[in-house]
């Protein structure tokens, strides 16, 4: 008999049904609601409490403050999407905004196998879009795809995420219900809440252990 048959067989053999629980009541989660202003404040507070940075930027011109931030840090290469609206806006206005003073724009345009060492050691920062934010936990929602692959938000030392203020939900449950995640999940979905960190050495926090050491969230308003 195969392992599968044997395990399922043993489970199916149970004499009486497992005592079911009381009907789960999710209101303890759903009643935690905040107004739009509170959501933004809470989101910011949460992200900052875990060493992330939030920058509020105007929707029409978010490139100027971004470029200022990058140039001040002397970032020399930035990885950005090509298809997504944030990538297109960024690429269209890049020369004007940077005055050709860098950083150099790169694209994730080959399979990882073709440029692993480069991605791992030559890219300083990567910018991605997000599907929304979560106020309660200070989380960003990402569904990586061909234009914005999984490793963009993980391998470069700095991750910059673009978030629209009107897409900040109170909590994850509300977000996954409204965006109807149950209808179909992508191969990879992520909640990102701050830069990579560890407390494995004597409970002392250290950032950037495997992923980015810095997370900048551009909140477009």
């Amino acid at each position: 008999m195969s392992a599968r048959e044997q395990i399922l067989g043993r489970l199916r053999q149970r004499k009486a049904a497992v005592p079911a629980s009381e009907q789960p009541d999710f209101s303890v989660l759903t009643r935690r609601q905040w107004s739009a202003g509170e959501r933004l404040d809470l989101f910011r507070q949460q992200i900052e409490s875990v060493h992330g940075e939030v920058m509020r930027v105007p929707r029409e011109d978010w490139l100027t403050p971004l470029v200022g931030w990058l140039q001040q840090r002397e970032i020399s290469t930035l990885l950005a999407p090509r298809q997504h609206e944030v990538g297109q806006t960024l690429r269209a206005g890049w020369t004007a905004a940077t005055g050709n003073k860098g950083p150099e724009l790169r694209a994730y345009d080959r399979p990882i196998e073709a440029w692993k060492p480069e991605l791992f050691s030559e890219v300083d920062a990567a910018l991605t879009s997000t599907l929304g934010g979560i106020a309660e936990t200070g989380s960003l929602v990402l569904w990586p795809d061909a234009d914005q692959p999984r490793l963009m938000s993980l391998v470069p030392p700095i991750h910059i995420a673009v978030l629209d203020a009107d897409r900040i939900y109170s909590n994850w449950l509300e977000l996954l219900r409204e965006q109807d995640w149950a209808a179909g999940m992508p191969a990879n979905a992520l909640l990102i809440s701050g830069p990579s960190k560890t407390a494995d050495i004597e409970q002392t926090l250290a950032y950037g252990v495997h992923g980015p050491a810095e997370l900048l969230v551009l909140v477009r308003q």
Binding site: R10, V28, L29, Q203
Partner: protein, 472 residues
């Protein structure tokens, strides 16, 4: 031949080690405080009730959910494998590695893989398995086992880790946490790039969507499940839940209970390998569902509650025994309260007979458990099983009755017999009261730090009768 160290000998050794005591005391005090702070403003009791209900509901539908999980994973392109025990799971994984001519495996944190000693098996097949979670990496360098399920290297302080990394990897001997962390990052980055296979655990497996959820802070879990061409996820069969919504309360409870975080840095949901046209992610994803005793636990209504566990570690952080003796004293994969109620099933009571009694039954574990597992009650149940102490409900746990002693059983039988006969009971009582000066002053370990209880000259019954008589 020297005798296997027991819980008692190991506990005595840890108690005598001031370094271990200090390391655990500091860490656990910190974790308890952070947990309390993280639940501020929450209706914690309601949330725990929801967490327990969601887990219990999933367990009540276990076989159906497993089949649904399998079907949906396969539909998403995740290959599903089943394993009756750790041995079989190791075999499945080793074979998968061999099919891909894998020499180097990188691992994310997985307690199930510890439970089945996967690294050891892989090494036997000539495959190097490297732990990438910083705590696990340190423990592996030290050739030890984790002493906490969330914080594997909590038994070591910065100085010890600095010395260890200096000796094993050539880092500078600096007691500087950011330096040590970035040194480990450098060492592991190359390993991630070289790895042929990534192996991870699973925190929640969602049946309705065929999704594997991983909770982590470091990003090593994401690297493990994204960079190598093959990802193998391994999990116990009890980790399945119905839908994504069920994950919401469990995630809210897990990270706050474990480390007092509102959420971890990464919550990684994997529902398939790299899709056509995508540029990264593994080409193959496998899920190994391990039983290893779980379907046995599941047969008993009371013991089954053990399987609600979401491995947050709060029970050990709050356990007065764990805090003092540390994780290694237990000598088991899962230490602390959860270990005491789980390990007897995985290894049999014969091997784990000291565990259910290594508790004062203070109840702290049951009070903090986010899914309301009645741990103290289960400890009492296992103590009873160890002596076959319940005639009406025959014992079921493997190795039950291992602690049953003929003399002890006889004493209790006599006791019961005497108490069922009023005349005899009164006679015995009177006799004992007369002869109470003969009572021993020393009662083994009990009286080493306490005075022996002395029988009263009068019974409570007699006193109450006198009082009632006087007041009427």
């Amino acid at each position: 031949m020297t005798a296997e160290p027991t819980f008692h000998t190991r506990a005595r050794a840890s108690l005598a080690d001031p370094q271990i005591r200090a390391n655990f005391r500091n860490a656990m005090d910190g974790l308890m405080g952070k947990r309390t702070a993280a639940f501020e403003g929450w209706e914690l009791e309601e949330l725990r009730t929801l967490g327990a209900a969601v887990r219990q509901r999933a367990l009540s539908q276990l076989p159906d959910l497993l089949e649904q999980l399998e079907a949906n994973c396969e539909r998403n392109g995740i290959r599903v494998h089943w394993a009756r025990d750790g041995e079989e799971a190791c075999k499945v994984i080793t074979e998968l590695c061999q099919q891909h001519q894998a020499r180097h495996v990188i691992k994310g944190k997985s307690m199930v893989s510890e439970e089945m000693e996967l690294n050891h098996h892989l090494a036997g097949a000539g495959i190097e398995a490297l732990e990438s979670d910083l705590g696990e990496y340190i423990v592996q360098l030290a050739e030890e086992t984790p002493s906490h399920i969330i914080m594997p290297a909590i038994h070591k302080n910065t100085g010890e880790i600095s010395d260890l990394m200096h000796a094993k990897t050539g880092t500078e001997p600096r007691r500087d946490v950011p330096y040590l962390t970035s040194a480990a990052r450098q060492q592991l980055r190359t390993k991630f790039m070289q790895a042929d296979v990534g192996i991870s655990g699973v925190n929640f497996a969602v049946a309705a969507t065929g999704t594997l959820c991983l909770v982590e802070n470091e990003g090593n879990g994401r690297l493990t499940t994204t960079v190598p061409p093959v990802h193998i996820a391994v999990t116990g069969i009890e980790k399945v839940v119905g839908g994504l919504e069920d994950v919401a309360p469990l995630l809210a409870l897990l990270t706050r209970s474990a480390t007092g975080q509102h959420i971890t840095t990464y919550f990684n949901m994997i529902s398939g390998p790299r899709p056509e046209g995508h540029l990264d992610g593994p080409r193959e994803v496998h899920l190994v569902l391990v039983d290893n005793g779980r379907s046995e636990i599941w047969q008993d209504d009371e013991l089954l509650e053990t399987l609600r566990c979401i491995r947050c570690g709060a029970c050990m952080n709050h356990c007065p025994v764990y805090t003092r003796v540390g994780g290694h004293a237990y000598g088991t994969t899962y230490p602390g309260p959860i270990g005491k109620i789980l390990m007897p099933h995985l290894q049999g009571l014969a091997q784990t007979q000291d565990l259910p009694s290594a508790s004062s039954l203070c109840g702290a574990c049951g009070e903090v458990c986010p899914v309301k597992i009645p741990i103290p009650q289960l400890l009492v149940r296992l103590r009873r099983e160890a002596v076959d102490g319940d005639k009406l409900n025959p014992s079921v746990v493997r190795g039950h009755g291992v602690k049953r002693r003929r003399l002890e059983a006889l004493v209790w039988r006599l006791w019961a017999w005497g108490h069922a006969r009023p005349a005899l009971y009164r006679f015995g009582l009177a006799l004992a009261q007369r002869l109470r000066f003969l009572q021993p002053r020393r009662l083994g370990a009990w009286t080493r730090h306490r005075t022996a209880p002395v029988l009263a000259s009068d019974s409570l019954h007699a006193r109450m009768a006198r009082r009632d008589g006087g007041s009427s």
